[in-house]
Symmetry: C2
Subunit: 400 residues, 2 copies
């Protein structure tokens, strides 16, 4: 019998994907130049040369049956070693290949890690606003997602709210900094406060509460900000990383889960992640991409372009009178709806060809997300339409 839950997930789709598909249709109707698709975090900045050069070199130099063959379920040993070496050098953190599990992107890492660390009826806390698929991934395993709102002024963690929200049922807290959708980057103090709260709560309930650090935007930070490496502050941490954004290869599905060797039962956690990946049908992460990683590690696309997009949009939108928080990382702006109604605002924006994701699915009302990983040209052309959009609300408030 058709599974009703899966049917619903397939029919409803994610709001982001829905808007993305709508955008494709709208472009066919109105023409490419009259649709400004800010829906999807699909990088527009070219991958670094190392990506295509690396693939070409693998095609040239590695025997093809080996290159395209199965790797171990955990991943290619050389790739895992290269990642462990990078982690220990870049973050001065203990690491070894035994704690690196290659995955099909951060999503593959998250579902495997959630599968490993949660049980039916346990709770996973997400700092809201949060990436909507967290809910889908958490509920798949029979656990519950509990959103805890960040501070409204800068969208950093509200430790008091967390303190009040964590009960015995909490298995893990998902931390996503640089944040999607707000662009907030949590400071070292934020992480220290969070760590000390979770240590206290773990002690109180006599079990580890894990941090699942979802870090696909780790390298996308501006204004010289630093992203603290959470395993250096909290032992029971599993990092979910993806090369999707740093290398502009989101479609290729390559990332990893890294269990801090300092975690309680780190090896058992690692084995449970492997088991969860197995049950999910993840035989191994794509082999060509796995083998590409060592030559691309630490490299990124030209992030300056995102920084420039951010400046251009932030300055224009604030000058038009929009209310938005200054983002320090990722490639998202979180824009307040003039009426406080996110869906209405997103619908009105569509009239101007502006595709902005309403915040409701992010576990937060009254905002839209703008993914500014688009071409500067598109952003520039979209500005007059943003101005018209805000004008509509100014008119309204005058008329009222």
């Amino acid at each position: 019998m058709i599974n009703e839950k899966m049917k619903k997930l397939g029919v409803s789709r994610s709001t982001i994907r829905e808007l993305f598909e709508y955008g494709k249709k709208l472009k066919a109707e109105r023409g490419e130049n009259y649709v400004f698709d800010y829906s999807l975090g699909n990088p527009s900045v070219a991958p670094p040369d190392a990506v295509n050069l690396g693939i070409a070199s693998l095609l040239e130099n590695v025997r093809d049956v080996e290159l395209h063959g199965y790797t171990s379920a955990e991943g290619d040993i050389n790739t895992r070693r290269a990642i462990a070496k990078y982690i220990s050098e870049a973050f001065s953190a203990p690491a070894s290949y035994e704690y690196v599990y290659m995955t099909a992107g951060a999503a593959g890492a998250l579902v495997s890690v959630l599968g490993a660390l949660t049980n039916e009826n346990e709770t996973v806390i997400a700092l809201a606003p949060y990436f909507p698929e967290y809910k889908v991934f958490v509920e798949r395993n029979g656990a519950r997602l509990k959103p805890v709102m960040c501070k409204a002024n800068d969208f950093t963690p509200d430790v008091d709210a967390l303190d009040a929200a964590i009960d015995e049922s909490v298995a893990a807290v998902i931390v996503n900094s640089p944040n999607n959708p707000t662009g907030a980057v949590y400071s070292e103090d934020d992480i220290k406060n969070l760590a000390s709260l979770l240590e206290r709560k773990s002690k109180q309930y006599g079990k580890p509460i894990y941090i699942i650090a979802d870090e696909p935007y780790r390298e996308l930070v501006y204004d010289g900000k630093e992203v603290p490496f959470i395993p250096n502050y909290y032992n029971n941490t599993v990092v979910c990383y993806s090369y999707s954004k740093s290398l502009s290869i989101p479609g290729e599905r390559i990332g990893y889960a890294f269990v801090s060797p300092r975690a309680d039962d780190a090896k058992t956690v690692m084995r449970a992640i492997c088991g969860a990946g197995r049950a999910l049908g993840y035989v191994c992460a794509p082999s060509l991409l796995q083998k590409l990683v060592p030559s691309c590690i630490g490299k990124t696309s030209d992030i300056k372009l995102y920084e420039e997009n951010r400046r251009m949009l932030y300055e224009a939108l604030t000058s038009y009178g929009f209310d938005l928080v200054y983002p320090s990382g990722a490639f998202y702006l979180f824009l307040k709806s003039p009426t406080g109604d996110a869906k209405e605002f997103s619908e009105t924006a569509k009239k101007y060809g502006l595709l902005l994701v309403p915040s409701d699915d992010f576990g937060c009302e009254g905002y839209v997300r703008i993914a500014y990983c688009q071409s500067p040209d598109m952003i520039l052309r979209s500005l007059p339409y943003f101005e018209k959009l805000v004008g509509e609300y100014k008119k309204e408030s005058k008329n009222n």
Copy 2:
């Protein structure tokens, strides 16, 4: 809290993977030339030139942000169209891109389709012996796997046994022909008999019982045998296909699920598959590989090499006195344990460096699986060790 079920799955590993890892260690100890790893279905025959040429051409001709970017969750539209066209031409079956969902290999297809078509406490029948991961994939969703043994003489479906086994709880039957692990290829009559049984049972219980046709070995058939395309015989069929074996690219994780447009509620089934894939964290199948498919469709590795391996092994093993069924497809031989104990036989074989997978995990006792997708050179060198192995049992039976 660490999920015990996932921990167990991760610690126990699949028997096949376990043996593969053991083989890697043994090679390091004894030397490459003294270990004959027949464990894993990892093709040894080079991919057709079209694979590496196709990748090189994509790198050359497609804008890199597009090439490596997200596709729709269902997959790249051109790829889905090319697959639908191929299905309708090669099998004279109705097909359209709307019923093709690109996946990370057949495993990704199977978990998504099982997620879509099964519910807690429902039953999925596997024709035994069956690929062991079916059990993991089925149980993940809270359903039960019920093995129904094939006929012992040729490992084709036993329709009477199926008739007796199917009750109201059965949601689907997994059909895997050419078969892993037996190499059996089901005839048109086998499929017709199965279809008519399932039509009768569906009517009786007032709900569709689906066939999930797991077909990664579709092209690997010998002696001019034909593999019937099941959607032409049974409407409620979903095909799970992978390019892993046909193109010798198992590590790359590329395949698809195809819902027969003639299935009841075909569109809803398709949406439920998308929903299940979403919950499993399958954002999209690897984009470079998706885009490679149209230029490789219908091409295969040089299958003659497998056919030659099969002949060489089959002739040698039967001449030594082993008991085995003549296989018509895939790249597996299913060898009877001389004592009827599969595990003991597999352990004894290890002494001779022969890695043979015991059949117990395939839902069938007393056999080992030999994956002959290895180099002809390795197979040739292994033959004296098979002879010594059988000698050990002859000695024993003399002594007894």
